[in-house]
């Protein structure tokens, strides 16, 4: 029987959480920005090599500039977090340290993947400029627009959850 795991995506408004999920679940992308209100739930079952399949129940929460403002009941029973920021907007990752600290303190046993989205909008020089922030904290740089590294992100997290 396929196991189900709850994945919650967190991050500021407009960082591309919904686009990232849509790329992963439906393999589609749209430039039109529609703000998420409350929560939207998606599901995708993935096969883990030499393991069973796993159903990821993905909770796409509305953006918040501070994790403390997120409705805590939405985070109950989470098996894995994906913290998303917009690589091209420093405002969305300037408090990364404190946001991750909040997650580690309140959900100590839940794995967290830190993801910089919109990689298609930045270049190497820009990344180097923020390397002191990115290097120790960021797990993946992805692009919902091109689909780059999104499958890898979810399958790596899924493997950690089994």
């Amino acid at each position: 029987m396929t196991a189900s795991k709850k994945i919650v995506l967190l991050g500021h408004f407009g960082v591309g959480k919904t686009s990232l999920i849509r790329r992963f679940v439906e393999n589609t992308f749209s430039e039109d920005y529609q703000v998420t209100i409350g929560v939207h739930i998606s599901k995708k079952t993935i096969e883990i090599p030499e393991q069973e399949s796993i159903s990821l129940i993905i909770w796409d929460l509305e953006g918040q500039d501070d994790l403390k403002k997120t409705r805590s009941s939405y985070l109950l029973g989470t098996n894995g977090f994906i913290y998303v920021f917009d690589s091209s907007r420093p405002l969305t990752f300037e408090n990364l340290n404190s946001e991750l600290k909040f997650l580690k303190e309140n959900y100590p046993n839940v794995p967290v993947k830190v993801v910089g989205n919109k990689m298609d909008l930045v270049n190497k020089t820009y990344l180097a400029q923020y390397s002191s922030v990115f290097k120790p904290l960021v797990d993946f740089f992805v692009s919902a627009k091109t689909g780059s590294r999104i499958e890898t992100l979810f399958s790596k997290l899924a493997k950690e959850l089994i």
Binding site: M1, S4, V39, I41, K43, I57
Partner: protein
């Protein structure tokens, strides 16, 4: 006789016909002016022509303008579906409402006739039940005649919203998504009212009623179609509580296959 007088006589002789012609033209112009400048006279002349032209134009509209108008309307409807729905909704809503009211009236009359004209043990039993419960006898008959069905039953983990077991007669919707959304809605409502001891117990969606029964670490969602009233709710609550205690749900929460089997065995019949 001087030169001018002679010339005048010659003119009279030579131009008599022309003068008469000029005079007749002057008269005709006066008549025309009278016709054009006076509204009544002009109307009398022009109206029959316009009427005739209009009749022809109206007759020819389907052939001449019809295809253009149809095409324009089609395009307009295609481009603004929401606006069309907005415009039609109140009209259709009223029509449906009137139809339903009419049908309900007929049904009510039928039931009243049935109540008044029949005598049986069943009726006696129903009357006693009506008096005891305070529910109108017609409502009881309605309940007897309405086909209430359990469409889906889901056991959902509190907090995470993950499905612990599920049974459905017809695959209505993905149980994981339904469970997730129900949990999110429950969390939102319960947070909003900020009363931990209170739980969301019921959601109505389209033709379905979703009954939510809360336990300590999980809750059970039963999707019902048909009439869902206070009597049915009470019976369903009893049935769920019986399921939870008799089937030892708490001890089998980790065993999805076994719990699913128990859920199916218990809820596959509609009778409660």
């Amino acid at each position: 006789m001087n030169q001018d007088e002679k010339l005048s006589i010659i003119k009279d002789i030579l131009l008599t016909d022309e003068r008469e012609f000029v005079s007749s033209i002057e008269n005709k112009i006066k008549i025309l002016e009278n016709t054009v400048n006076k509204r009544d006279n002009l109307s009398a002349k022009v109206n029959p022509i316009i009427d005739e032209k209009l009749k022809t134009f109206i007759k020819e509209i389907p052939d001449t303008l019809g295809p253009t108008i149809t095409e324009a309307l089609k395009e307009e409807i295609k481009n603004s579906k929401d606006a069309v729905v907005e415009a039609l909704f109140p009209i259709l809503g009223q029509m449906v409402k009137r139809y339903v009211q009419h049908e309900m009236k007929l049904l009510s009359e039928k039931i009243n006739n049935q109540v008044n004209n029949t005598f049986s043990f069943k009726r006696f039993f129903r009357k006693t039940k009506s008096k005891a419960s305070g529910i109108n006898e017609s409502d009881l008959i309605l309940q007897e005649q309405t086909n209430t069905k359990i469409e889906q039953a889901i056991i959902i983990e509190k907090g995470s919203g993950l499905v612990l077991a599920e049974f459905s007669k017809n695959k209505m919707a993905d149980e994981d998504m339904v469970a997730g959304m129900l949990t999110a809605i429950k969390s939102f409502v319960e947070d909003a009212f900020k009363k931990e001891s209170q739980n969301l117990q019921y959601i109505e969606y389209d033709l379905y009623h979703i009954h939510l029964q809360n336990f300590s670490s999980f809750y059970i969602a039963i999707v019902v179609s048909g009439a869902y009233n206070i009597i049915y709710k009470d019976k369903l609550e009893d049935k769920i509580l019986k399921f939870a205690s008799n089937q030892k749900v708490i001890s089998t929460l980790k065993n999805k296959a076994l719990l699913t089997k128990k859920l199916e065995d218990f809820f596959k019949n509609d009778g409660i």
